[in-house]
């Protein structure tokens, strides 16, 4: 299992990593963690009130993984996430307004209403692949982006994320194998939140860890504690460096999925003690906040300011989404092929805001 670290040891050991980031960066990481947490909580509340159409896939409890890996990327590196990884996309830089417009099926969403919830991406801007449900279907595509960087001699990397359950699928293995054979600049991330919908790790794989599997493909693999954003970040930074030098590697970051698979799932199959232990002792957001306070990187006022900022940004995003028009029905067949120019022109904004 992931190294179990006591709060005291965590605070002590993290100091070394603290030194690798400037105080501004550390505060930015805290902001990202808090933004992702707050977004997740508020969206779930709206969903429960029946004010959010479609589905939600909470990433709560896994922010250490998502923020830690995505923060190690540069803006021209690409990210290939899953439904669970919206926090990684937010860290990479997606605009909250447009993300929220996506959730409400509006024209200003990144997919112009053609897809919903976390099936989102901003390839043209933030170089994130628009999420596809089928797991882990973006893994092979990440190989292709990495191949392009390698062929042009660009120092860029592709990072792909998927869950523990997705590693059971054949293409996960295909993609790792091909990336090692052709020495592609990829960072493979597995967000091991211990459950694949209701299925626990032991029914998904028989090896002691997913990280161990890296050896089978001829690449390094590490297992890190997803509750410790700095540990995740350090591993991701090393893996990104290795990829820039031309070699792939695998990171398994262990946490727990705090909520159900999706909004409808009460997740009664997760033992209560396990969940309580994670919420009480392994909360990546709370831990990082305490760490920064203990090292005088931030004070209570600073934390309050971050909290207010994320609240404000969420409220603005919500308003933006509600006032963004729906796509017009007559555009339903447009943009399948490039010829009709739907995606290079401005879409109709005549759809109104009532469904």
């Amino acid at each position: 299992m992931a190294t179990e670290v006591s709060k005291e040891r965590y605070l002590a050991e993290a100091v070394e990593e603290l030194a690798s980031l400037t105080p501004d960066h550390l505060r930015e990481v805290l902001y990202k963690l808090k933004l992702c947490r707050y977004f997740d909580e508020r969206m779930e509340a709206l969903y429960r009130q029946g004010r959010l159409p479609g589905a939600i896939y909470s990433g709560r409890g896994q922010e250490g993984t998502h923020v830690g890996v995505a923060y190690a990327l540069r803006s021209d590196d690409s990210l290939f996430p899953t439904h669970r990884d919206l926090s990684a996309q937010l860290t990479k830089g997606l605009d909250l307004n447009r993300v929220m417009a996506q959730f409400w099926g509006r024209i200003d969403g990144y997919t112009r209403g053609r897809d919903g919830n976390s099936h989102i991406g901003d390839w043209k801007g933030n170089r994130t692949f628009a999420v596809i449900s089928h797991l882990p279907i973006a893994y092979p595509v990440a190989c292709g982006a990495a191949l392009a960087y390698k062929r042009r001699g660009e120092p860029r990397v592709a990072m792909a994320i998927c869950g523990d359950g997705a590693t059971s699928n054949g293409r996960w293995h295909e993609a790792l194998n091909v990336s090692a054979i052709h020495r592609l600049p990829v960072v493979w991330v597995v967000n091991n939140n211990q459950y694949a919908y209701s299925t626990p790790n032991e029914l998904e794989f028989a090896v002691p860890s997913i990280a161990l599997r890296a050896a089978a493909y001829g690449m390094p693999g590490v297992r890190v504690d997803g509750a410790n954003v700095l540990e995740v970040y350090a591993a991701a930074r090393d893996a990104v460096e290795r990829a820039r030098g031309g070699d792939p590697s695998l990171i398994e970051s262990v946490s727990l999925r705090w909520r159900g698979h999706a909004g409808h799932d009460p997740a009664k199959y997760v033992p209560r003690e396990l969940l309580e232990d994670h919420v009480q002792n392994k909360d990546p957001v709370k831990r990082f906040e305490e760490l920064l306070k203990a090292h005088d990187v931030i004070d209570d006022d600073g934390i309050k300011a971050i909290q207010e900022r994320v609240g404000r940004e969420f409220d603005q995003g919500y308003e933006y989404a509600q006032s963004s028009p729906f796509p017009v029905g007559s555009d339903v067949t447009k943009g399948l092929f490039v010829e009709d120019g739907y995606w290079t022109g401005e879409p109709s904004r005549e759809g109104g805001t009532q469904s």
């Binding site: 690409s78 092979p140 190989c143 292709g144 392009a148 062929r151 399948l336 092929f337």
Partner: protein
Amino acid sequence: MVTQTVESGAAGHGAEPRGKRTEAGEATYLIAIAEALWEEMERDERVFLLGEDIGAYGGAFKVTEGFIDRFGPERVMDTPIAEETIVGLAIGSAMEGFRPVAEFQYADFMSSGFDEITTVLARYHYRSGVPLPVVLRGPSGGGVRASSFHSINPEPWFAHAGGIKVICPAFPSDAKGLLKSAIRDDNPCMFLEHKWIYRRIKEVVPEDPDFLVPIGRAEVRRIGTDVTIVTYGAMVHRALDAAADLAQKGVSVEVVDLRTIHPMDTEAVLESVAKTSRALVVYESYRFLGVGAEVAAVIAEEAFEHLDAPVMRLAPPNVPVPFSPALEDAFLPDVADIEEAVQKLSAW
């Protein structure tokens, strides 16, 4: 009837060299396809090839023989047997500005990459606006005693997926011009090369490096007045043989070669049916819920007033392609079957 033709090599492929144009400028379909790839690689360095055994070996059917010597192993990239990742490599590199052409050793193995093709490639532009200039090529079709796993005609699966153009040429010039168009197209294209045609059909093929055949346009192969045969791929050649024979018997058949399954040139079909008032669809993919059903439905909806007879379909039954010559011949439409169907239509 059991034909006596025996294919060289296993499942229709062999180790013989690809061959060259004749003095008169005639090229086989195989050579024409190789020329299209070669010319487009010369023209645009973003174009590259990937697939199994395409490098030093030159591909199972020798389409890429000699390419690695000219273009090197990066642009003629041998991959492991990982079809989902072959498609993934193509998609991801296209997202980053390349124009990949992926070879499937047989079109049958496209099903091993099905999810990446239908779930990512076919849908990505519609939901993101990111163009995917990807070409997937593969040898399709039967009649070469290659049985169930080396004879498939997968065009309906992929035409049904939506965002993929599906191309099925019958002649060397079309193969060359359509493949070049596909490589220059900014959308995903599937190029299905009928392996029965590879070394059998040759003609004078244009040498102009900008010779293109437009995607989505049918071609009338034979002009006639009594019955329209709508067809594509290897069945075009059966239909033309049948039409020549029927002409001797006083029946004038028009043969419309669709060339592209999606988007389909329904205008050309309707124009011909408006003239002949009788239509037969001949195709090698499955009869049930297939290309013929679509063509027949379009004719029924839009040319009903022109029809003097019901639209007929002639296509294989929905069973796996069988091996024994006796069974495969019963499975595939042949010239006699086509003539019989045309005679039935003419009798209306």
